[in-house]
Amino acid sequence: MNITQPQNYVSLLLLLLMLVFPVVAGSPFVYHIFILVFSYAALASAWNVVGGFAGQLSLGHAVYYGVGSYTATLLMINFGISPWIGMVAGALLASVISVFVSWPCFRLRGPFFALASIAVLEVVRLLVINQHGLTGGSAGLAVPLQQGVEWMVFRERWPYLVISFGLLSAALFVSWKIKNSRLGYYLIAVREREDAALAVGVNAVRVKLAAVIISAFLTSTVGSFHAMYFTFIEPGAVFSLELSIQIAMFALIGGLGTISGPVIGTVLVLPLAELARGWLGDFADGFHGFVYGVVLVIVVLTIPRGLVGQFGARVGALINRLPGYKEPETVQPSTSTLTHVQSETLGQPILVAEHLHKYFGGVHATNDVSLTLKEGEIIGVIGPNGAGKTTVFNQLSGFLKPTSGSVRIRTSYGEWVTPKSPAEFAKAGIGRTFQIVQPFADLSVRENIMIGAFMNTDDHVEARAIAAEVAQLTDLTDQLDKVARDLTVGGMKRLEMARALATRPRILLLDEVLAGLNPSDITKAIEIIRRIRDTGVSILMIEHIMQATMSLSDHVAVINSGSLLIEGEPEKVVKDPQVIEAYLGKEYSHA
């Protein structure tokens, strides 16, 4: 981290100020509020790794909090083990549990993931109550009051403040690390468009698991700390839906998927509710919850992206006027990635599909299709709409598993492999585009391409350099800082190609990249495809624009009603009576 950048030093100063304020104020109540703010901000930041970065809306995070609380307390009561060790043990246990809980639930979307996470929370809470011999049941457990650093129990308030600040710092550091790493980009990619992420080699399950494990670990440490701070735990309070909702809410109010958002959300809302509780006494019984609910609804209706999402850019620009601001350095495009290599295996098969069959229920969507793509070659795939071209593509890139038949790829080491998942296909050297473009809409063009580049490097700077190089090849250089959703249709199609190219594919599957383009864009794109081929990439392209297919393809394959009608040189294929019949009907076959 560069400390002379205004955004960085301002953030650090504000954090330190928050630490100093209660010490100067000195009142126990202020201490208490800040200890709560720090620890809840840590919880919200930890939740944000899953709920924000990974976009998995968990409303059961109290499970991990509770595991931390109970592990530390039980180890202390039964074995006299220091809660510092208990904290680590609890965090490890929570991480393991998080894998078992989340893995089966990843295929659930939106509300259903949330419901499943609530169900898991309920099950755990009921089981903890049920095992009263071990856990004290619903009555809960009191933490033995042994004072001292090793027991995490103190007479004064300031050590608690320091510990909670430490937990918050750890959570923030981890968030910051994730956000600026390959993992952070991958999480956003999986959240925004899982298919597009798979196509550039992202193992979606592994990435989401990483987020869940990190989040559970951090959440659990706060649970252990809270047990020692409150010196009492009970299932109703630690395994509570209310707590889960609260921490998710703080993150949302501040801004999902941002680093500072969860902290800002907590700082603004938590003291408000706590103060109300203090002032209003008994009446406040439901009042702070009521405030939480109302604030949540208002935020969702007015600034759904949260405070940081809504105002962050503007505030950031203001802060950057402070002394010390430096523009991010421009990265020179790399030249190594796509340079033409004189391959010795040019002209030999690189992708072989044999006897592919695919059934969707009763529909025979792919009927005995065999294809061989040779290195350095362009094959154009044509056929009427609904003929099953994209279905074949999906089998060649791992998005569909053929009912029978095989797809083999020759790797750069010369071995033949049959990958099993889209990500493995990508790693074996297949890049693909989607007929319906799938940009990561809220990211910049540069970031979109970088996600492709991360397949071969985990270094930020290198990924930027590859992005710059690929952008040159695809005429996107002057659009690099544009947000992807603002691109024209032609730009989006080129972005599809660019992102695939950034993975350094040896085989590129292009699915109608010219459809819907205007004539000048088509000329541009044809030129680009030719350039790509000249870098040594073999290309299989589905295309309806005959001008392009005829001028680019070495071979043309015609697919009709799921089966391969004919394959051969372009001139021969278009004159074939069967092909004419497929497109125009029988009466034209003699025309």
Partner: protein
């Protein structure tokens, strides 16, 4: 065997209560495609409403549930118009947070207004909805029987309404494809308001039917809503008949597991069923739902 039969009857009767709560939830999801996390708090409001009407005007809960239907309809319509409608094209998370926010606010508002005390409708002078009916050695709670019968009638009525009335057809069209319905001249926003109102209105009936057996307290919604979610997912989201069958299944599971396993573990049993269904059969047991993937 006798115990088993009695447990089975208890389970089915409990299922009737679960059904009347779940119908509205599945209706709203099936049409508006929003999972309403505030459903339980709507139930709480209906129960307090029935309690107050009984206290103030001496209305029998079965009478009070009729005005309550319309009040709840209005509440649902307002929620749809001012909270859900602006968020229809927002992402799932935002919609969830909105209904969760409403749920939190309403539950705590209940706590502020009524306190944490438990209130029951005074049924001591009522004739209908109390007591037991005996068939041989088996007994049935009259109030629960009434709930069971009404839930069947309600499903029948909704079914008829959706299939054979003009408005019902428009609702089904909207449920199947929002944009296509819009193109056919259906006022989709109005349909959603009506659908949400109907779903909430069902809870008005539930509030009245449950009053003889269940007390009301601020968190009563949470107590029932998780079960309702399980039932609705089990029966296939959006399916009325599925919800009814799901309710009977969970009712019986509740009753049997409470006796044969342990009273405090019966929820563990049906939450586990819930998680398994979500993972392995996301379209519900009968494959009638919209799926959770």
């Amino acid at each position: 065997m006798e115990i088993f039969l009695q447990l089975l009857i208890n389970g089915l009767m409990l299922g009737g209560t679960f059904a009347i709560i779940s119908i509205g939830l599945t209706l709203i999801f099936g049409i508006v495609r929003v999972v309403n996390f505030a459903h339980g708090e709507f139930l709480m409001i209906a129960m307090y409403g029935v309690y107050l009407m009984n206290l103030q005007f001496g209305l029998h809960p079965y009478v009070a549930m009729l005005p309550m239907f319309f009040l709840m309809f209005a509440l649902g319509a307002v929620m749809q118009r001012y909270i859900i409608q602006p968020l229809l094209s927002a992402s799932d998370e935002i919609q969830i947070f909105a209904t969760v926010g409403v749920s939190t606010a309403l539950m705590n508002a209940g706590l502020m207004v009524f306190g944490a005390d438990v209130y029951s409708v005074d049924m001591s002078s009522a004739v209908v909805g109390t007591g037991m009916t005996s068939i041989g050695s088996l007994t049935i709670n009259n109030g629960q029987l009434m709930t069971f019968i009404v839930s069947i009638l309600l499903i029948g009525a909704l079914d008829w309404f959706l299939k054979y009335t003009f408005l019902g057809r428009a609702i089904r069209a909207t449920a199947q494809h929002r944009d296509a319905a819009l193109l056919m001249g259906v006022d989709v926003k109005k349909i959603y308001i009506i659908a949400f109102g109907l779903g909430a209105g069902c809870l008005g009936l539930a509030g009245g039917l449950m009053a003889p057996q269940y007390p009301v307290f601020p968190t009563v919604g949470t107590f029932f809503v998780l079960t309702a979610f399980i039932i609705v997912v089990l029966g296939g989201l959006g399916s009325l008949h599925g919800a009814f069958l799901g309710a009977l299944i969970i009712g019986v599971v509740d009753s049997l597991a409470g006796y044969y396993i342990a009273p405090d573990l019966k929820e563990v049993v049906y939450f586990s069923i819930f998680i398994a269904i979500l993972i392995f059969r996301p379209t519900g047991l009968f494959g009638a739902g919209r799926g959770s993937e």
